[in-house]
């Protein structure tokens, strides 16, 4: 569903952060992007999402060119959902309002139905629907952000470090939720993750980036069993 060909990208007048990356992801698949800080993981995700326009190369969604499509259009017309790393909720707005933000284009009835469905699925949110999002814990925010992205009924989900700043228990909850979403909704999930083992344990495939290039790509299970992972999860270049 996502096909990226030879993209180069960077910010402003700065150098290329992505130096020609190709990758792809299908429906009902979690693809994780790994790599040390500064390797370009987040930039790749942002380029796929449409926050960054690539300097060269193509991004296709469902076979259609989407390099120059800004994120809000992708969300509304291409079935893309995006969850940023930090600052991933509208802090000054209530939980219910946060969720409704995810379902802007739906008619009232569908919106209410989805809202009820989400509340049923994540009871921790249901109890706090009138609370301001700033009052939620980190894990609850992550779930809220995920739920917000799901409200629009996307087919592709882009997640930027969903485990950042979470305690292991919360991290489990979040990753469980992500895996469930893939299985229940046939979602295509592209995820950037620092926490390699946790991330890989729910992933199908992974790309390891280094210095703006794909250093390694493999099935998640294969990577998990790779003895080099000890080094890899801490960010070293696997080529050594």
């Amino acid at each position: 569903m996502i096909e990226v060909q030879d993209i180069r990208a960077g910010y402003g007048d700065g150098p290329d952060i992505l130096g020609g990356i190709s990758m792809h992801a299908h429906a009902r698949e979690i693809v994780t992007i790994l790599g040390p800080n500064g390797c370009g993981k987040s930039t790749l995700l942002k380029t796929v999402a449409g926050f960054v326009t690539p300097r060269a190369g193509t991004v296709r969604i469902d076979g259609q060119h989407a390099e120059a499509v800004p994120i809000h259009e992708k969300v509304r017309h291409h079935g893309v959902g995006y969850v940023p790393q930090t600052d991933n909720v509208f802090r000054t707005m209530s939980v219910a309002e946060n969720l409704l933000m995810g379902a802007r284009d739906l008619d009232r009835q569908t919106r209410e139905e989805r809202l009820d469905a989400v509340m049923a699925q994540y009871p921790s949110l249901a109890n706090k629907r009138r609370r301001k999002a700033s009052a939620l814990s980190g894990g609850e925010r992550q779930i809220l952000s995920l739920a917000r992205a799901l409200m629009a009924g996307p087919r592709i989900l882009l997640l930027d470090e969903p485990s950042a700043g979470l305690s292991p228990a919360m991290m489990h909850d979040v990753f469980d939720a992500i895996a469930r979403i893939r299985d229940e909704q046939d979602m295509c999930i592209l995820m950037v993750e620092q926490n390699a083992f946790e991330g890989l344990s729910i992933s199908d495939r992974a790309y390891v980036l280094n210095l703006g290039k794909v250093a390694l790509t493999a099935q998640a299970q294969a990577l998990l069993n790779d003895p080099a992972m000890e080094r890899l999860y801490l960010g070293g270049a696997p080529a050594e």
Partner: protein
């Protein structure tokens, strides 16, 4: 005392609409747009021209407000979107420059004289010993209605939700499918409408000349900053504080201090009061009076 309260409220009326407009736009595009005070003058002049052209006042007000809203959007698209890529200070300088150009346009089109709406003027009513004029009441009504309408849009409509969402988290807003540029321009439009109404209500109470914008600039800023730039409704509170300070400075008889019967400070010290308050405030609490957000480092 009653007179003090009324004077404070009337002065707050001068400031509130424009200050709210300034703060509202600031929440989305993080630079203080100085040209907004000039939009108020545009609104007043256009409103008066429309009335002269035979439009009844009830029509002239909204038509002029919408016109100014559109003008604000045009300037935003042509000018400020570009300048903001260079930074907020550059956009601020650009808005100062735009203000100067607008002044020049006013000067050529209207000359230096002061203008008023064609309104019947009646002597003030006495309420509890204080004087209130009809136009003060009608502009109070317009201002309250406009601010109420703005608050209603902000809190009860989809656009308002999107405005608040974009203000709190622009990235997430676009990730939720919001066309943030459109939301920003909608807000800019509303700010133009508010500013124009501010200018027109001022003109209904007194008169408008080309200097109005310059005179309003700092008190309006003081109100908006005191209210916490970006906190639209805080600007109303800011306007009240500023106008109370100004009214105190001009309404107080300092004669007792010097042993004379009457000693009033020059009324233009009212402005000095608001600037001094502003500078003092910025020194003590650079983020404003009514900011609730804990900013993260």
């Amino acid at each position: 005392m009653i007179q003090f309260l009324i004077d404070t409220i009337i002065r707050a009326l001068d400031l509130a609409l424009i200050a709210v407009a300034l703060s509202g736009v600031y929440s989305l595009i993080k630079f203080p747009n100085v040209a907004l005070v000039q939009y108020a003058v545009v609104g007043a002049f256009v409103g008066m021209l429309l009335q002269q052209a035979g439009l009844p006042l009830v029509l002239a007000l909204p038509v002029s407000a919408i016109f100014v809203g559109l003008v604000a959007v045009i300037f935003n698209v042509l000018l400020f979107e570009r300048l903001l890529t260079e930074g907020s200070a550059i956009a601020l300088i650009g808005s100062l420059a735009l203000s100067m150009i607008l002044s020049a346009v006013f000067l050529l089109a209207f000359g230096p004289a002061a203008y008023r709406f064609d309104l019947a003027v009646a002597p003030a009513m006495r309420v509890l010993g204080a004087r209130i004029t009809v136009h003060q009441l009608s502009t109070l009504a317009i201002t309250v209605a406009a601010l109420g309408g703005f608050a209603a849009i902000l809190f009860f409509t989809r656009l308002g939700r999107e405005m608040r969402a974009t203000a709190t988290n622009k990235v997430l807003a676009s990730a939720s499918g919001i066309d943030t540029r459109r939301v920003i321009n909608a807000t800019v439009f509303l700010s133009g409408v508010l500013a124009a109404l501010g200018g027109m209500t001022l003109a209904m109470r007194g008169s408008v000349s080309i200097d109005l914008g310059t005179q309003m600039l700092l008190p309006v800023f003081a109100a908006a900053i005191l209210g916490g730039l970006g906190n639209a409704l805080g600007a109303i509170a800011g306007a009240l504080v500023i106008s109370a300070a100004e009214t105190f400075v001009t309404n107080t008889n300092f004669g007792v201090l010097t042993g004379t019967d009457f000693l009033f400070l020059p009324a233009s010290y009212a402005q000095t009061a608001s600037f001094a308050l502003l500078v003092g405030f910025l020194l003590l609490r650079p983020s404003g009076l009514f900011t609730s957000e804990v900013s993260r480092v």
